[in-house]
């Protein structure tokens, strides 16, 4: 058994746009009993190349092996892993509260202002508030709003951009995947 302390890693996996890859990638984690804390998939800055952003906790001695397993997949171009200080990252929280709470005095309005959140929509019976930030920040807003009645809450997975300046195709050229 590995008794090393785990660390949080944000993994970026660049892949071809192929059905089934999501499954292939998640299997690599589940097979090793690694819990995926968040997963976001979107097209990257390069046409037809998708970027998976995956947040996990893992022993440092295993992260490089995990990267190897990801890159072993035929349709994976490259995988990178980062710790929080290597990246700029964000998540988004959406909060649904009842409009009557909102118009009842200025408490809720003050919370929203203080947290730099914004109102996306006001309907007669509900209001949708949006907050982007780190998980602690979206959670802090949740806790402040909760006494006023949250009807529904959702938080996105993490999206992250690495601080180093190299672009994907430069890495791909270096390892010989691109001419």
């Amino acid at each position: 058994m590995n008794t090393e302390a785990k660390k949080q890693y944000t993994i970026s996996v660049f892949t071809e746009d192929k059905i089934g890859l999501l499954n292939r990638i998640t299997i690599i984690f589940t097979r090793r009993k690694i819990n995926v804390e968040s997963l976001t998939v979107s097209e990257s800055e390069t046409k037809g190349i998708f970027r998976f952003t995956i947040v996990i906790e893992l022993e440092p001695s295993n992260i490089e092996k995990l990267r190897g397993q990801l890159e072993k997949q035929v349709e994976v171009l490259k995988a990178f892993y980062y710790q929080d200080h290597d990246i700029v990252y964000q998540e988004i929280g959406l909060y649904k509260i009842s409009t009557s709470e909102f118009v009842n005095g200025d408490k809720v309005e003050n919370i929203i202002r203080k947290n730099n959140a914004r109102i996306l929509r006001i309907e007669p019976d509900y209001t949708i508030v949006e907050k982007t930030g780190h998980e602690e920040e979206t959670r802090a807003l949740f806790e402040e709003l909760e006494p006023h009645g949250i009807l529904s809450f959702v938080r996105s997975g993490r999206v992250a951009i690495a601080k180093p300046m190299k672009r994907l195709h430069v890495y791909l050229k270096e390892i010989g995947k691109l001419d």
Partner: protein
């Protein structure tokens, strides 16, 4: 938006086969012909019927072997692939046909065996509806295939098959699966075949890094107690010749993994034995005294390393391996060389000095002497009434001069056969290593015999494993495949019984196994056979089997409670290998 200049898949310019106005099903067969496939192992069913129908017109160009079970088909394809070093091909229908392939796919994945598996699938419109015999085989096989893909349009077929062969055979080989829906098989298309040249996201083989070669050579030239660990990668890369040259120049002692056997003659003066749980004493013990391990095309499986905490404590490690994910996975590499074994050895060869390790080799010889005294002589000098497995294999080895292809099942007989057969020729060992699949031997031997018909192919199985796939005697019967079969019958699931004896207080929970009369059973399939119980009949029995022009089954009743030694208990250090 950025665009990568390189297209996702690049094909060869040349169109090597074409036929306008055909069907998807015919395109499957034409694609296989374009890949020079000469044998398909398979079993038909509803969802793959159009492909079988198209095949019917091409029986002058490609052989199809109808097995008795899809597991038989895939193991046969594996046996074929292992002796031919090219992709084995198998067909199965959807649902149960496809799921019956799973064990073989998993086996091929861990043992780096190239396979192209083609399964039929229900028509596209029925996908996801739990239609009759609809199974998500792409989903099920995902973790055990190198690549898999579902084809739903006829026009996709040539490129999908071209990709399948390219992926299966290049880099570290492995199984791929194409699941072709029935509508795609029926649909019309214009067939045009171009081989796959490159896939931009996939780098099968990396260029060698010259600095790493130099660093490795320096370690090799300055070490005192080196040991080469020779793996399957040498055979896969067809690097046997340069390997031997490298060994003879550098003087390094060589130990082999289970799948690396027959990469080098066991009679070579630098060959010091076989690694792992039931390997030889010397290479196991000396691993922990070595100051340098040179691992070539092997992956430090736990059956080789034993407990990692105590593995090779004094050794620096050069790891030559084509699959980058194997580097530092189990054992940290001092100098990783990612690349093809042949290219790496060719690059290393001019940089290594001519050296001799007489004293170090003498230490291995001393270990051999000890093993011979404690293990081999006991196994060979019969004090028991019943024949011992070792006697059978030793005699088989002598009679065939180590030149046969030995296809083993899984268990004690496998360890005995691979320990005592003196592999004199290369590409002579076909076994299920990483998965340890009982039932592998008989069908794999069928495939191997079809792959190398000019060689003697001998399946060695236990009474347990033989019963897992013995229905393939029907395949032998129908196709007149002259494979020889030795069943070493100890009336036990011997390997598990051994563990029960050693580690579970002899509580033989469900390891005694009754068998039918194998000789009568074989004769029902038209396969001749004899049973040998007496030592003095063994030699004539073996001769009869070897001289038979047809398939032949030799059942030998062996000692019931023989144990395989040496043995590294599971998780123990390789230096704690037990001789008795």
């Amino acid at each position: 938006m950025l665009v990568l200049e390189q297209p996702f898949v690049e094909t060869e310019k040349e169109v090597i086969a074409s036929k306008p106005n055909t069907t998807g099903a015919e395109a499957v067969i034409l694609s296989l012909l374009a890949e020079n496939v000469d044998t398909i192992f398979g079993y038909p069913g509803g969802a793959i019927m159009p492909i079988y129908d198209a095949l019917y017109d091409y029986l002058d160009k490609v052989k199809h072997i109808l097995t008795r079970h899809e597991q038989g088909a895939i193991h046969a394809a594996q046996g074929y692939a292992r002796v031919r070093r090219k992709a084995g091909v198998c067909f199965a229908t959807s649902g149960p046909g496809a799921t019956n392939l799973i064990t073989g796919i998993a086996d091929a994945m861990v043992d780096s065996t190239p396979l192209v598996c083609i399964t039929g699938q229900v028509t596209e419109g029925l996908l996801g509806t739990d239609a009759f015999q609809e199974t998500d085989v792409v989903g099920i096989s995902m973790p055990i295939t190198k690549w898999n893909y579902q084809v739903t349009k006829a026009e996709e077929i040539p490129q999908a098959i071209a990709k399948a062969f390219y992926i299966a055979e290049s880099g570290r080989p492995g199984p791929v699966l194409l699941d072709i829906t029935k509508n795609a098989q029926f649909e019309g298309c214009d067939f045009k075949y171009q081989k796959c040249r490159r896939i931009r996201s996939y780098l099968p083989k990396r260029a060698l890094v010259p600095e790493k070669i130099a660093e490795a050579a320096e370690l090799i030239n300055s070490c005192k107690k080196p040991l080469v660990l020779a793996g399957h990668g040498i055979l896969i890369a067809k690097a046997q010749e340069v390997f031997q040259e490298f060994i003879e120049k550098s003087g390094l002692p060589v130990a082999s993994t289970l799948l690396g056997l027959s990469a080098m003659s066991v009679e070579h003066p630098n060959y010091v034995g076989y690694l792992g749980m039931h390997g030889n004493y010397g290479p196991n013990v000396k691993t922990n005294e070595a100051d340098l391990l040179i691992a070539v095309g092997m992956r430090f499986d736990d059956r080789v390393t034993g407990g990692l905490d105590t593995y090779a404590p004094d050794a620096k490690v050069i790891h030559i391996e084509i699959d980058p994910s194997e580097i530092n996975k189990n054992v940290k590499a001092t100098v990783p060389i990612i690349g093809d074994a042949k290219e790496a050895l060719e690059a290393l060869l001019p940089h290594v000095n001519e050296r001799k390790y007489d004293e170090w080799l003498a230490e291995f010889a001393e270990c051999d002497r000890l093993e011979d005294e404690k293990v081999v002589q006991k196994a060979l000098a019969p004090t028991t009434e019943k024949i011992k497995m070792v006697e059978v294999i030793k005699m088989l080895s002598d009679k065939t001069e180590g030149k046969a292809v030995i296809v083993t099942d899984v268990g004690q007989h496998q360890m005995i056969a691979t320990r005592y057969y003196k592999f004199a020729e290369t590409e002579s060992n076909v076994t299920s290593g990483g998965l340890g699949t009982m039932g592998f031997a008989l069908p794999a031997a069928i495939g191997a015999k079809i792959g190398v018909p000019h060689r003697d192919v001998i399946a060695v199985a236990g009474d347990g494993g033989f019963q897992m796939t013995l229905q393939e005697l029907g395949t032998i019967m129908q196709n007149d495949i002259p494979v020889k079969i030795i069943v070493l019958n100890n009336h036990f699931l011997g390997m598990v019984r051994q563990w029960q004896e050693l580690f579970f207080d002899r509580r033989y929970s469900f390891t005694d196994i009754e068998s039918p009369d194998f000789v009568t059973l074989a004769s029902a399939y038209g396969v001749k056979g004899i049973q040998v119980t007496d030592r003095d009949k063994l030699e004539s029995g073996l001769t009869q089997m070897l001289e038979s022009k047809e398939s032949f089954l030799l059942e030998v009743i062996v000692e019931k409670e023989e144990n395989v030694f040496p043995m590294v208990p599971s998780g123990a250090s390789v230096s704690d290998i037990r001789l008795e």
